[in-house]
């Protein structure tokens, strides 16, 4: 045979051999835990765009990660679909402890509105709850309503004229607002926005009358007196000196309690050792004073819960929110629009 053909055949055989050898796989062995987990950097998926509250939380944790976890945290933003793109990815990765993600109350809310790729409360495992944000109801100081009763009275007289803004359909603030409307027996119209900043802009411009949002965005205006907060959806008043004067919904007779909790989670079926190591690491990070200061600066409240307590909370929140969504009719509103 001519040398050219020999060379060609030889190359073909060589490449075939390499390809076949590379494709050979051993059956899946259970992940062998050496005491050195983690041996490489851990990816943390943030299902929101860079710059948002959850993203900043992840980056604040990243600062102290090497000290408590032994490896750096690599923040990867996977925004989209109200965090579902990121959580879908998290739920589908291998549970080896090298990919974790930011979790928050929306992962319980979203499956209640319609079919999702995964049922997040059962597809994901909490490692820790890290922080929580309260929800407040604010009006501009020029408005005549001094407290929640004035507002309710006005709303009953002219139903549907009050427009309130919230950061997005199905977000915790939206649900809290609907809870308030149902409990108080009034009709207020919701104007959806893409995020708290948009809602705040429209609110400051006087285009909407009420705003349901977390205190961080509005703190400056509160301090300068341009904005009046009528109520906060917490069990008790906050300790923060700037926010201490805000009465809770509960003490004014409307039982609405809703906080946005944020935490860290991983796909289900993490090996026990890995989970324990991660839980310890995050417990350390959360108690680190630098982290606490960064979080406070962002307007979040540090509220640590370990993996077991978080899991219990997830189950409890799931049943509580299922009931609330059904009662307030939010579920139907959103579902009807999806069809």
């Amino acid at each position: 045979m001519s040398p050219k053909i020999v060379r060609l055949l030889g190359t073909c055989f060589l490449s075939l051999t390499i390809v076949l050898a590379g494709c050979g796989s051993t059956p899946d062995k259970p992940v062998v835990i050496q005491e050195q987990y983690p041996t490489k950097p851990i990816t943390i998926i943030v299902p929101f765009t860079a710059g948002g509250g959850s993203d900043m939380l992840a980056r604040a944790m990243e600062r102290s990660a090497t000290k408590y976890l032994g490896q750096p945290l690599v923040v990867v933003n996977k925004p989209g679909g109200a965090a579902m793109v990121g959580w879908n990815e998290l739920a589908s990765t291998k549970p080896d402890g090298y990919t974790i993600g930011i979790t928050n109350v929306s992962l319980i809310l979203q499956p209640l509105y319609g079919p999702t790729n995964y049922h997040y409360p059962t597809a994901l495992d909490p490692i820790a709850q890290v922080a929580s944000l309260p929800i407040i109801m604010a009006v501009k100081s020029e408005q005549s309503w001094q407290n929640i009763d004035d507002l309710i009275k006005y709303a009953k007289q002219s139903p549907g004229t009050i427009k309130y803004g919230h950061p997005g359909l199905g977000t915790a603030a939206h649900v809290a607002a609907e809870m308030f409307a149902k409990t108080a027996g009034i009709t207020i119209e919701q104007v959806p926005f893409r995020g708290a900043s948009e809602a705040l802009t429209a609110f400051l411009g006087g285009h909407i009358q009420l705003l349901f949002v977390t205190p961080a965005e509005i703190k400056e205006y509160l301090k300068s007196g341009k904005v009046r907060v009528l109520a906060i959806a917490e069990e008790q008043r906050l300790n923060d000196p700037d926010l201490k004067h805000i009465p809770t919904f509960k003490e004014q007779g409307i039982d609405v309690i809703f906080s946005i909790w944020q935490g860290v989670g991983a796909p289900k079926n993490l090996p026990e050792d890995v989970k324990k190591k991660l839980a310890e690491g995050f417990s350390g990070i959360v108690n680190d004073p630098t982290f606490q200061k960064s979080v406070a600066d962002l307007g979040l409240k540090v509220e640590y819960l370990g993996p077991q307590e978080s899991a219990v909370k997830w189950v409890a929140e799931n049943s509580r929110l299922t009931k609330i969504i059904k009662e307030t009719g939010i579920g139907e509103t959103i579902a009807s629009q999806k069809n």
Partner: protein
């Protein structure tokens, strides 16, 4: 008043670590602008951890430097390779690349840099003196006004590149349809996602722009059967603008600066929209309208100035009100907050060092950018001397990498290539990509504004017309439509009469 505080600000920003931060920031910004895909948002997000250990003023000087620096760098790849470095550089592709093909790449780059400097500085001047006034003006714009802006914008900007009105309008419609893809946050409905979860977040504007303009051009270059070895030889003294180009650019630079400053107050992709508006204005005011699309220097000077001025005016709501109107200012806001500073009405009184130091650093940063960019014009222009068969693959790789860097998603790369192929065929059939970009940007603004505006007006569509600002804008849009209709009717009537007389004369 302000001037003494501003001088104090210069004193602060001239300290060694702040100067260093400024330099680092603008350098990174330029690089980020040059690299297609990753934009200032991603870069600032990545560098935020670096800023933890720094003083708040220093870190914000650096982060802001990245922002306005990227507006300088974005034009470089637009002009040289028809790949928009980021959104604000898309319009520069149209005439900038045409100029590069004629051998005037250096001139385009130089004018872009100088225009950016002048407009950027003017923008910071506006920021210095008019910040509180303008901030409150910006608040008066609510959802109905954004709808009116979107509507007016679509009507006016449709025939941007002037080829065929029908083709442009078709492209705008396609753009609006593309903008509807994804999970709509107003209703929670997923539209046109075909059960692909990656499409839930919609189609990224940068990906579409890079695909249509960049990859489309690469494919077009490859497909040219009479391919030249290099794009265009350049002589050294051609590297800088000649007198005529200078003269023609002066007015567009100032006009672009003013337009950019005003349009920058719109929430959303303000810088991009300002470039389109500036291009439109320049085309109408130019004595050489036929050159637009084939390498008119005004088409580079105006938009490049506009996007730099827009940066300054985006900072106004951020600094004066603590409201981020664009994704970049949102992450700058996080930069503030993570240092414990919340911008707002009290920032200027409670943190004067920070406020004035930051503003002064923006002046310094613009000067630094001019000093960096101008000498490099020669080097950049000579990049075109690289043979095409090496240059095109490199462009492809850079574009693909940049696209991946946006969302860490392989699906985006697929979309990029898809739009590249689409752009290639569009070019062959004479459809311009710019109107599609306009539709993609303004469509969501229009729709969101309409939905929110109608809820605010309790479902009453006349409420959109009774509000002063939106009413005026909608009226202008209506007048434009009526005017165009009248023009078309008269032309049709004239043609009919002409055809009749020809027929009669034929009969005889």
């Amino acid at each position: 008043m302000d001037v003494t505080m501003l001088l104090h600000g210069f004193y602060i920003s001239a300290s060694p670590e702040n100067l260093l931060a400024c330099t680092v920031g603008v350098l990174i910004g330029t690089v980020v602008g040059i690299l297609p895909g990753i934009g200032p948002t991603g870069a600032i997000a990545l560098l935020l951890p670096l800023s933890f250990g720094m003083d708040v003023t220093t870190s914000l000087i650096m982060l802001a430097g990245i922002y306005y620096g990227s507006m300088y760098g974005g034009s470089i790849t637009s002009i040289l390779l028809n790949v928009p470095g980021e959104g604000g550089a898309v319009v520069t592709c149209i005439d900038g690349y045409a100029m590069a093909k004629k051998g005037r790449a250096g001139a385009a780059l130089a004018i872009a840099a100088i225009g950016s400097f002048i407009a950027g500085t003017l923008g910071v001047l506006g920021l210095t003196f008019f910040a509180p006034l303008i901030a409150n003006f910006a608040l008066a714009f609510g959802p109905p006004e954004y709808f009116a802006i979107g509507f007016l914008g679509l009507i006016i900007l449709t025939n941007l590149t002037g080829a065929s009105a029908l083709k442009s309008s078709l492209m705008v419609a396609v753009g609006v349809m593309l903008g509807a893809i994804g999970m709509d946050s107003l209703t929670g409905i997923s539209r046109f996602t075909f059960s692909v979860s990656e499409l839930q977040r919609g189609v990224d504007f940068t990906i579409v722009a890079m695909g249509l303009f960049g990859i489309g051009e690469v494919l077009h270059t490859i497909a040219q059967s009479h391919g030249k070895a290099i794009l265009q030889p350049v002589r050294f003294w051609d590297l800088y603008p000649n007198k005529q180009e200078w003269r023609r650019s002066v007015a567009p630079i100032f006009r672009g600066g003013a337009i950019g400053f005003l349009v920058g107050l719109i929430p959303g992709p303000a810088a991009v929209i300002s470039t389109f508006v500036s291009y439109m204005v320049e085309k109408h005011r130019s004595k050489y309208p036929d050159e637009f699309g084939k390498g008119a220097i005004e088409g580079v000077a105006g938009p490049e100035s506009a996007n730099n001025a827009a940066v300054s005016s985006t900072m106004i709501p951020l600094l004066s009100l603590g409201l981020p109107f664009t994704p970049v200012s949102a992450i700058l806001l996080s930069g503030f907050m993570i240092h414990g500073v919340i911008p707002g009405p009290t920032l200027i009184t409670q943190q004067p060092d920070l406020f004035w130091g930051l503003i002064a650093s923006m002046y310094i940063g613009n000067v630094l950018l001019l000093l960096i960019n101008l000498p490099l014009v020669g080097i950049f222009a000579s990049l075109l001397q690289i043979p095409i068969n090496v240059l095109m693959p490199v462009v492809l790789i850079i574009t693909l990498t940049g696209a991946y860097a946006i969302n860490n998603s392989f699906f985006d790369l697929f979309l990029l290539v898809l739009f590249g192929v689409l752009g290639f065929f569009m070019k062959r059939c004479g459809y311009e990509p710019a109107p599609l970009a306009i539709g993609l940007i303004l469509g969501p603004t229009l729709e969101t504004g309409l939905v929110q505006g109608l809820i605010i007006g309790s479902g009453n569509i006349s409420s959109l017309f009774t509000r002063p600002i939106s009413g005026v804008m909608l009226l202008c849009a209506m007048m434009v439509i009526i005017f165009q209709l009248a023009k078309w009717l008269t032309k049709w009537n004239d043609n009919r009469k002409l055809a009749n007389t020809q027929y009669i004369s034929h009969k005889n």
